[in-house]
């Protein structure tokens, strides 16, 4: 884990403790994915609406706390603001609002929407002969939604090579409807598909710069709660839970001891 990704996770734990809101495990599973995107794409935190920027959409909007912590790391919002997560007058709701959060391109929350809007944006950039690209992170639970596959079918039919779909394959759906073979599924839909360790930042960045012949699908094999065994081994208990003071100390200790 890079120091930056560890620091982002620190901020997630602290924000969850102060705010009382959670979704920590799923926020932990997407940190390297989001950092890989922001390390790769064209963007300017000082000018979030820069007309030549690439687009990132967190289609799995319930990972908002991880997204906000990453946005704070990249300079879009003050890190101190994270403690307002979910509060009545906060900009930082438990799902992102594009009118409130600098860097949020789409208000998401209901699953299966962001990826399809991303297809429309990628098509728009092609029509404009623009080099702008679109990146979206979807969840494995989200992949139960039919609209995910409608969107992928359209994207590959149109050969939208400027669109990257990153699947947070954290296997949360073992409790209901698993997606056991995502790489095969995305490849069968025509995606230029690659599987990668979703916590290997450099490997992830490598997948985003590799030339593709069709819509890129990155199957990021991740661990819910990555970095804290207490979370990773009890993901369902911790799905929306916020740590008490003792648990915060324990989780911080686990995170600091994490050496990978």
């Amino acid at each position: 884990m890079t120091p930056a990704c560890r620091e982002i996770r620190h901020n997630i734990l602290n924000a969850s403790r102060v705010s009382g809101h959670g979704h920590i495990p799923t926020s932990f599973s997407i940190i390297e994915m989001i950092c890989a995107v922001y390390d790769t794409m064209r963007h300017d935190p000082k000018n979030p609406h820069w007309p030549e920027r690439d687009i990132f959409i967190l289609s799995k909007g319930h990972g908002a706390l991880g997204f906000y912590a990453a946005l704070a790391h990249y300079g879009y919002i003050p890190a101190d603001e994270l403690k307002t997560f979910g509060a009545f007058q906060s900009r930082l709701g438990c799902h992102p609002d594009r009118f409130k959060v600098p860097g949020a391109e789409l208000s998401t929350g209901s699953l299966g929407h962001g990826i399809a809007v991303a297809v429309g944006m990628a098509l728009a950039f092609r029509l404009q002969n623009s080099p702008r690209r679109v990146f979206t992170v979807i969840g494995d639970g989200e992949s139960n939604e039919g609209t995910v596959w409608e969107a992928v079918a359209v994207a590959t039919h149109l050969k939208l090579t400027n669109l990257t779909v990153m699947l947070d394959h954290n296997r949360s759906q073992i409790r209901s409807l698993p997606i056991p073979n995502p790489a095969e599924r995305f490849a069968a839909f025509g995606c230029d598909t690659i599987s990668v360790d979703g916590h290997d930042l450099e490997a992830l960045k490598g997948t985003l710069t590799k030339p593709v012949t069709n819509t890129r699908a990155v199957i990021a094999n991740t661990i819910k709660g990555h970095g804290c065994p207490t979370l990773a081994n009890n993901v369902f208990e911790w799905h929306r839970k916020s740590p008490n003071p003792e648990q915060l100390v324990q989780l911080m200790g686990e995170l600091n001891a994490e050496t990978v």
Binding site: A116, V117, G120, A124, L127, H157
Partner: protein
């Protein structure tokens, strides 16, 4: 009216390179000339209505003025959440144009009937909802609203009325005002039946092609009268009653599925929306 839709959009596309057409595997033959003239702005994306709405929102987000078009229930009832969130909540507008409602596909049965579209889309903040009654109304309304960045709904019909009137988005029209004690309010193509039914009856007739925003000022002028809303869908009656202190009744759809086939005229006759049925309802209101 569907051909007018194509003609209007084709004309607009020639002047505005932000116009894009997305079809849900319907009307593609009709749009042949559009496809030939603007192949990069024509997409028959298949039968995936939910995604079509989201993709439309994505195009709008990047500055285009998209038209998304397919059969009414599938693009509105089925895709309500996409319209609500991706176009409404996110304020990525665009033009939703549907065909088949309420009973233009009568022969296809209840799966293809649609009469809630106007009512449910009215409930989405920022949404514009129209039910053009004929080609002229459609042409005027599309040209005035297509590029305003808002989500706008246009419901086409194969059976338009032939009443000519001035058309302005958001404005109703008093087609007949005799100072009568009863006012018939209606919207869209059913106006043809209303005019025939009420030709010699002592009523005022007020017409709307825009259901949201509804013309509150015009409605309020008839507050002192008994109002009967005649409509082959839900939504107009509710919209009219946004104006307080009205005495309204509704003559339209029953609380049951219309499980018959035939033509739109057969269905209208069955549920009392043919001229005779409307006349009987208005006469009852005159007495009641």
């Amino acid at each position: 009216m569907r051909k007018q839709f194509k003609d209007t959009v084709l004309d607009l596309a020639g002047k505005d390179d932000k116009v894009v057409v997305i079809l849900g595997d319907i009307s593609h033959f009709l749009f042949n000339d559009f496809q030939q003239k603007h192949p990069d702005r024509f997409y028959n994306m298949g039968i995936c209505e939910n995604a079509l709405i989201s993709i439309t929102a994505g195009l709008s987000a990047q500055g285009f003025h998209p038209f998304v078009h397919t059969i009414t229930p599938f693009l509105t009832e089925r895709s309500l959440e996409q319209i609500k969130l991706d176009m409404g909540y996110n304020r990525f507008g665009g033009n939703i144009v549907t065909t088949g409602a309420s009973f233009d596909y009568a022969w296809d049965g209840a799966t293809h009937h649609c009469y809630t579209d106007l009512a449910i889309l009215r409930l989405i903040p920022g949404m514009e909802v129209t039910q053009p009654g004929n080609k002229k109304e459609l042409d005027v309304l599309i040209r005035s609203q297509y590029n305003n960045g808002k989500p706008t709904y246009f419901r086409l019909s194969d059976h338009g009325h032939n009443v000519d009137m001035p058309v302005q988005f958001g404005k109703g029209v008093a087609l007949k005002d005799t100072g009568a004690a009863v006012t018939v309010m209606t919207a869209g193509p059913i106006l043809g039946n209303v005019m025939e039914a009420c030709a010699d009856l002592p009523v005022n007739i007020v017409y709307f092609h825009t259901l949201k925003p509804i013309d509150h000022e015009l409605i309020a002028r008839y507050r002192h009268t008994k109002i009967i809303v005649v409509h082959d869908a839900f939504g107009l009656h509710e919209a009219i009653n946004e104006v307080p202190d009205l005495r309204t009744s509704y003559h339209g759809l029953p609380d049951q599925f219309c499980v018959w086939y035939g033509t739109v005229h057969d269905i209208r006759k069955k549920i009392g929306l043919d001229p005779a049925g409307i006349r009987a309802a208005v006469q009852a209101r005159l007495k009641g």
